[in-house]
């Protein structure tokens, strides 16, 4: 189990110290869930679309090896250099070597959760490369020295007034001015300078089409396009699972992605990169990092279908009230809670428990990942592997012992209720976490069983 200072519950408790901020965070994300609902209801065949996407992704996972080879062959034909990395360290070294070869000192990068997963920024910075995130939300958290708290809306936990203050300090905007248009313009002017002077641009990949060897990058700001078009070298970083078989399948995913993510019918830019322009280098780095191992797990392979829309974040009542940083992992929220233990069971043993198993996540998922069932299954795996506190294990064994024998159950039930009635202070104290903000249930004199034996049995 994680140390007490950093687990989800402790971080969430801290987040909840400012209740009005929790309310604001919850309402902001619920608003996006509602926008998603409205957008989904515009498509009468929405559920069929989800099912189709799910089946395409199932097919991809079952034939991933072949599709990857097909993709590599076609991408190479188009002029790309394809690199394979099994670990984040390998991935980062490949990227650094390309940058060094190009003789670049500063680069621009559009949004990529994969590079966050690899902690690429820190790595490149440590090797003397200046990395600028060009997605506005990512730029804000980068200036603040924080990781994103949400995979689609990286700075959703920041209020505009706070961004105003940050920009005042970092970009010299007027103090006290939080006008979104002014702040966006300041960011744009600052970023433009970086775009113009960067000879290498990194992008993420939303979809890689095996049939054509092209990649598709979805943004609302056009920052991926601007970076790539101005740079001599384009590096596209992707996880193995981003493959889709044919170009015709793209329509299914593009219709689902933005509607699920933000309630937009489609992202402002859905950019297809198929061939480098004359004189430009194009590198594609494919990362495994545990994905092929997960592919072999019947219970958890399904999580590889994820298209990173974050609909499960926005609908999750726990995420909305604990904030992305409580998850202490690159991908937060429900999907992060089933991905993270696969990468590091010990460090992320708390995350599958940061859920009530309400099931809303699985219902909004556009590719029908059984998220809440996987949370349940991860709990079993974690306990079996000993990633559980000794106190909890003893408590559970005690509970199981009582509930396995009717006589012990009935006797301890009567005794427990008797103690609760006559010595309530034993339960009504600060050591009892239930009682901290809730009253205890009132203990009745008789259990139902006792009532039944007295009133009905001899009838």
């Amino acid at each position: 189990m994680n140390s007490r200072h950093t687990d989800h519950a402790t971080r969430a408790e801290k987040f909840n110290l400012d209740e009005s901020r929790v309310d604001w965070h919850d309402k902001t994300l619920w608003f996006i869930r509602e926008k998603r609902d409205k957008a989904a209801w515009q498509i009468p065949e929405w559920e069929q679309l989800r099912e189709t996407a799910s089946q395409i992704k199932n097919n991809v996972l079952s034939n991933l090896h072949d599709y990857l080879i097909e993709f590599e062959k076609n991408a190479q034909k188009n002029g790309a250099t394809v690199h394979w990395a099994s670990t984040p360290a390998e991935h980062n070294k490949i990227v650094l070597d390309i940058i060094k070869q190009a003789g670049a000192r500063n680069i621009v990068k559009s949004k990529s959760m994969l590079t966050e997963e690899c902690h690429l920024n820190e790595y490149l910075t440590a090797h003397g490369i200046d990395v600028v995130d060009t997605d506005l939300g990512e730029r804000i958290v980068q200036l603040a020295g924080e990781p994103p708290s949400h995979i689609v809306l990286p700075c959703i936990h920041w209020k505009k007034e706070e961004i105003g203050e940050l920009f005042h300090q970092e970009l010299g905007t007027p103090k006290g001015n939080a006008d979104p248009q002014l702040l966006t313009n300041a960011a744009r002017l600052n970023l433009r300078n970086h775009f113009m002077t960067s000879r290498v641009a990194i992008t993420g990949v939303n979809f890689a089409v095996a049939e054509t060897g092209e990649i598709v990058v979805c943004t609302n700001e056009g920052n991926a396009d601007l970076g790539v078009q101005l740079a001599d070298v384009h590096i596209a970083c992707m996880g193995l699972e981003k493959i889709i078989p044919r170009r015709k399948h793209l329509g299914v995913f593009l219709r689902l992605l933005a509607r699920s993510a933000t309630g937009q019918p489609i992202t402002t830019y859905s950019s297809h990169f198929k061939k480098p322009r004359e004189g430009q280098q194009w590198h594609i780095v494919l990362l495994d990092n545990g994905r092929s191992e997960r592919l072999g797990s019947n219970d958890f392979r399904n999580a590889l279908k994820c298209i990173r829309c974050a609909a499960c974040f926005n609908t999750c009542p726990v995420y909305r009230r604990s904030g992305g940083h409580s998850y202490h992992t690159t991908v937060a929220g429900p999907i992060g809670s089933i991905l993270a233990p696969g990468l590091d069971m010990k460090k992320n043993a708390d995350l599958p428990f940061a859920s009530t198993l309400c099931g809303s996540c699985s219902n909004v998922c556009p590719v029908k990942i059984d998220i809440h069932d996987q949370l349940y299954k991860w709990r079993q795996v974690l306990v079996r592997n000993g990633h559980v506190s000794a106190i909890k294990a003893i408590g559970m064994k005690g509970m199981a012992a009582v509930l396995s024998y009717p006589f012990i159950y009935n006797t301890s039930g009567s005794l427990g209720r008797w103690i609760m009635r006559y010595f309530p202070f034993l339960f009504s104290n600060r050591a009892n976490l239930w009682y901290k903000q809730r009253e205890m249930p009132k203990a009745p004199e008789k259990s139902f069983r006792e009532w039944y034996i007295k009133n009905r049995k001899k009838k």
């Binding site: 009230r321 198993l357 099931g359 709990r379 199981a400 239930w434 009253e439 203990a443």
Partner: protein, 249 residues
Amino acid sequence: MTVSLFVPCYIDQFYPKVAIATLELLEKLDVDVIYPEKQTCCGQPMANAGFEQLTRGCNSLFIDNFSACDYIVCPSGSCVLHIKNHLHADGQEHKAHSIQSKVFELTEFLTDVLQVKSLSANFNHKVGLHQSCHGQRGLNLSQMSELVASPFSKTTHLLKMVNGLKLVPLNRHDECCGFGGTFCVTEEAVSVKMGKDRLRDHVENGAEYITASDMSCLMHLDGILRRQKSKVNVIHIAEILNSSKSKLI
């Protein structure tokens, strides 16, 4: 038709009135109800905490108590869902499967098996209906707001048969209350905040009572209501459906 009454452990110990209401309601509807006395718990508290391997005792007790009957009825969607998804029995899997096909949550049993068309219940109050997640999303007791699909609700269908009862509209009609089993103490801060937010929705929309098909949600919500010294009460749906004219007014 013989129905075995499956009474969740915490209802047996803390809310016997909910089990009594369930029993009386089924008897009013001419159902022959028996209560297997050696039942304890479905095993969900351990399983949801990751200790499925400790539920063997509960599983075999459940199978011993409930194999011989036509139907099993329980006033808790959560416990029924656990049995449906996770009841196992080494070497007796056929018995587990047989139980899984005949276990019903109370409102599901009333709607789908008995096909109740009317009730003689009276409850002259404004009521907020809390959709318990496991009943709703697990057992499909009502349509889920995430899906693009036609609305229906077995719980609302039954509540509409109750004289005098007014259902209040909610701003978020199927958000989780935050109970979540051991989650309610292991993630105490978020659990309570979720509960407070659910309650505010009900209270601001004028509910005098909050009902649900799961008492565990209501136990959590009631704990917060009483700490807030609120006048709003919780009541299990079985108690409303069983409320008679003579008891009220």
